[in-house]
């Protein structure tokens, strides 16, 4: 009898554990993870350069709650980002929108990389040409004619 009761309790506990675990799995990705994922791409203007997912100010906590509420309301990530930009300004984005003067920020990095690559390429080419086997020796520096004449004259006198 005791064994039967023990068996029933074990089965009941197992069934309860299964039942309580099932809804969490059925929800798919955890909404808090989703909130953090979206928050990671947004920045808090109150604490500069701090992504929203790691910022612990009250403002950021409120904003994460707002993201959660918007997600629960069926909004997509892009819609949430658009809402945040409209409400709080473009500075909430990790990167400025590619418009107006902001273009410079996008153009500048590739331009600097291009510049560096060009300098390296031309320097290497010049170096290789100078040091290639059979390459003509570098010409001697030109001496001003008055000095050349004087050297000639002095040599003759010797």
């Amino acid at each position: 009898m005791r064994a039967k009761i023990f068996f029933v309790i074990i089965v009941a506990l197992f069934a309860f554990a299964q039942f309580s675990a099932t809804p969490a799995r059925a929800q798919g990705p955890n909404i808090d993870d989703e909130v953090n994922r979206i928050a990671k791409g947004l920045y808090c203007p109150v604490c500069p350069n701090t992504p929203l997912d790691v910022c612990n100010t009250q403002a950021c906590i409120n904003w994460r709650a707002e993201i959660k509420s918007l997600l629960q309301g069926g909004k997509t990530e892009q819609q949430i980002r658009d809402i945040f930009v409209a409400k709080y300004g473009p500075q909430v984005l990790g990167a400025p929108p590619a418009e107006g003067f902001n273009w410079l920020a996008y153009v500048m990095i590739p331009a600097v990389i291009l510049l560096g690559a060009l300098i390296v390429w031309f320097t290497m080419r010049t170096w290789l040409v100078r040091h290639a086997p059979g390459a003509a020796p570098a010409s001697a520096p030109e001496i001003p004619s008055e000095y050349a004449d004087r050297i000639e004259k002095d040599l003759k006198e010797l």
């Binding site: 203007p45 109150v46 100010t57 009250q58 403002a59 409120n62 904003w63 709650a65 707002e66 930009v85 409209a86 409400k87 709080y88 300004g89 473009p90 500075q91 003067f101 410079l104 920020a105 500048m108 331009a111 600097v112 291009l114 510049l115 060009l118 300098i119 031309f122 010049t126």
Partner: protein
């Protein structure tokens, strides 16, 4: 090195310098305290709209605040008290809610029983015009529409930014002009 490469390098270097110079200049700009008050339009939580430039002839107090800001809570009861005291003497109070969630902002207004005009700074446009560095900040606009000083911190009895007595003196001074 070909001539066009030298020109390209020169252009890029100048571009980088201009980029950083503009960034540094923008970062170093201070909040305005004199001159024509930057104009803005703001809509309250209940849909009423105000345009600053249409308030000429009145003394305007613009207060930037947020519900998540503890010093804003320190000055909130005083500002409401001042509004009730001065509203019939041609003084307009405009509360500008800075990067805040609507529900938290409404709770804040309810908690401190704030009855003067309050609206959201949509897109942070107003705070950018006033180049605010944080909240709370308060700006005074004279009857002529010009800025007449500011307080770049909370207004409390013993504030280092502006005391309550200084606030009252400022309003009286502006009303007398």
């Amino acid at each position: 090195m070909p001539r066009w490469i030298q020109i390209l390098i020169f252009v890029i270097v100048i571009g980088v310098l201009i980029f950083f110079a503009i960034g540094l200049r923008a970062r170093g700009e201070l909040q305005p305290s004199v001159g024509v008050a930057p104009d803005f339009k703001i809509t309250s939580f209940d849909g009423q709209a105000y345009q600053l430039s249409q308030l000429k002839g009145k003394v305007v107090v613009i207060n930037f605040w947020a519900s998540w800001c503890p010093p804003c809570r320190d000055e909130a009861p005083f500002l409401e008290k001042m509004w009730r005291q001065y509203k019939d003497r041609g003084v307009v109070f405009i509360g500008v809610d800075y990067v805040d969630t609507e529900s938290a902002a409404k709770d804040y207004l309810k908690q401190y029983n704030i009855t003067y005009f309050n609206g959201v700074d949509l897109g942070s446009e107003i705070s950018q015009k006033y180049r605010i560095k944080g909240v709370p900040e308060t700006y005074f606009v004279g009857k002529d529409g010009n800025l007449a000083g500011n307080s770049l911190g909370p207004i409390t009895r013993d504030s280092a930014f502006m005391t309550e007595a200084q606030f009252v003196r400022k309003l009286e001074e502006l009303l007398a002009k």
